[in-house]
Amino acid sequence: MNPVIAVSGLRKTYGAGETAVHALRGVELTVWPGEYVAIMGASGSGKSTLLNMLGCLDIPTSGQYLLDGFGVGKLNERQLALLRNRKIGFIFQSFNLVPRTSALSNVELPLVYSGLKRSERRRRSLAALEMVGLSDRAKHLPSELSGGQIQRVAVARALVTGPAMLLADEPTGNLDRHSTEDVLGVFDRLNRLGRTIVVITHEDEVAAHAHRVVRVDDGLIVSDEVTRAVGAVS
């Protein structure tokens, strides 16, 4: 079995010379399928940079990153786009649904870019909405949904391609307590069904749902502890 994420010696430097900023200074991380990992750190710790690397949104200065067995370092922009489409399901803090576009169409979007037929897209998108408990909101526009519902649509969109992992960046940062529970509940359920989830957060409440907590500080991983066995319920 391939690890979903296998990162070794990952470095990212912005700028050069005197003004160079070393955002990541040699990160080692392995995530196995089915894991629910929380990456924690204060702002400026490098966790956002790590997220960009893990999400294939940016390429490392040096080091190796294997995503589900694929080496990311040497890929061009087009291949990176393809990899993001197939292997990663993004969930953002600010939801990032396409405005004025129905929930269903938003969920379908990644499938459009992967070239699926319309009927197949529809079937899979409805199934994904079903999984987050929103099948009755399929035709609604984002502006007609609550924050928690919007984020669940985003989760459905992340799920729909059947990616190797869900990569969530502060997924509850803009949500109230009730909606947070909602979304974390969905995460728990997905993880029990075998989905690999990587959550970047600074909230202990969110980290408490994960099986493993990785702390980042000053561009390095400072602790990596398994808090619960995979499959165990919190």
Binding site: L57, A81, F92, V112, Y113
Partner: protein
Amino acid sequence: MNFFEVLRFAVRGLTANKLRSALTTLGITIGVAAVILLVAVGNGASAAIAASIQGLGTNVVNVSPARGGGQGASARPLTVQDAHALVDPVGAPDVKAASPVVNTTATATYGQTSYDISTVAGTEPAYFATTNRDLAQGQLFTSEDVTAARKVVVLGPTTAESIFGSSTDAVGKNVLLNSIQFTVVGVLQAKGSTGLQNADDVAIAPISAVQNSLAGYGSLSQIAVQATSADSVSLAQSEITAILNARHGIRLGGTADYQIQNSEQLLATRTSATETFTVLLAAVAAISLLVGGIGVTNIMLVTVTERIREIGIRKAIGAPRAAILGQFLAEATMLSLFGGLLGVAIGLIGSEFTISGIKPVVVPSSILLAFAVSALIGLFFGSFPANRAAKLRPIDALRHE
């Protein structure tokens, strides 16, 4: 990711901001409609002139005083005698008839009605046959009327209607031309506008009467010569040249104080003038199309800036650069294509109407050209904003507020 999906995204992008899309489209619509309509007007003017000159007959040769007066002070005016000298079975066997013509303008008064006639022509009866004018009612004036300088007049249909109204019979009525009383003896059949002047807005009277009461005894405006047949026009032209050179004392190689044009040459002169006119109109229209195109670029730039986040999302979830490029290019092209289609429709409808006396004649190639240009405008003016969108890095785009 197929073509159809790209179009669907583009349609959704455009319909999200309907008013803005409609206004942008309007720029292209006006441009395309202007190109089609203005070229049609120019073309209509040429067609009308061609038709009117064809209507004169292909065997007509027109002699008029040279512009600038030929050999300075020694230039002689064209006279009635010149015209009569051209009808010479021996010296000019190919000339069938030659009518001296003086043109002037006059204000016609009848009762309370006053009307400015654009052309008052003084001539001889042969002129009617030479210029293919037929009578609608009444009769033409005769050679006797010319000899006696009788103040009789034959009116064009437009003139007759303007002075007497459509219900009154003009024949037999007395009308004042610049306060001089003329009797209407006939009304001509309609011939139509030539584009630059209305052939139906004329009053034709004996040359003697016009000269002694309206125009004076200066040079003739022209001599309308009818050749015996269309084939003998060039022979007639050289005969006329020979006779007039002799009468005006113009030596071989000298500059003539008159000019001879057959209907083909007349056509060429007139059409070259309207061609310039058409090119000018088309240039103005092309500028408005260009402005419309810049409008498309402008709006697409705004759209891209506005939707940077959306572009970031699309890229993050795996849209390749080509898909983003395609989406925004398709939006721009649809705007301009739709505007182009609408413009073609408006141009075609507009050309059904008579515009300032000219019946526009649509040039099919102008439709094709305007439409193709509008499509290209979308691609060309849309490529800059679309490329800008496609080149955005997903992390930058997502971070954009």
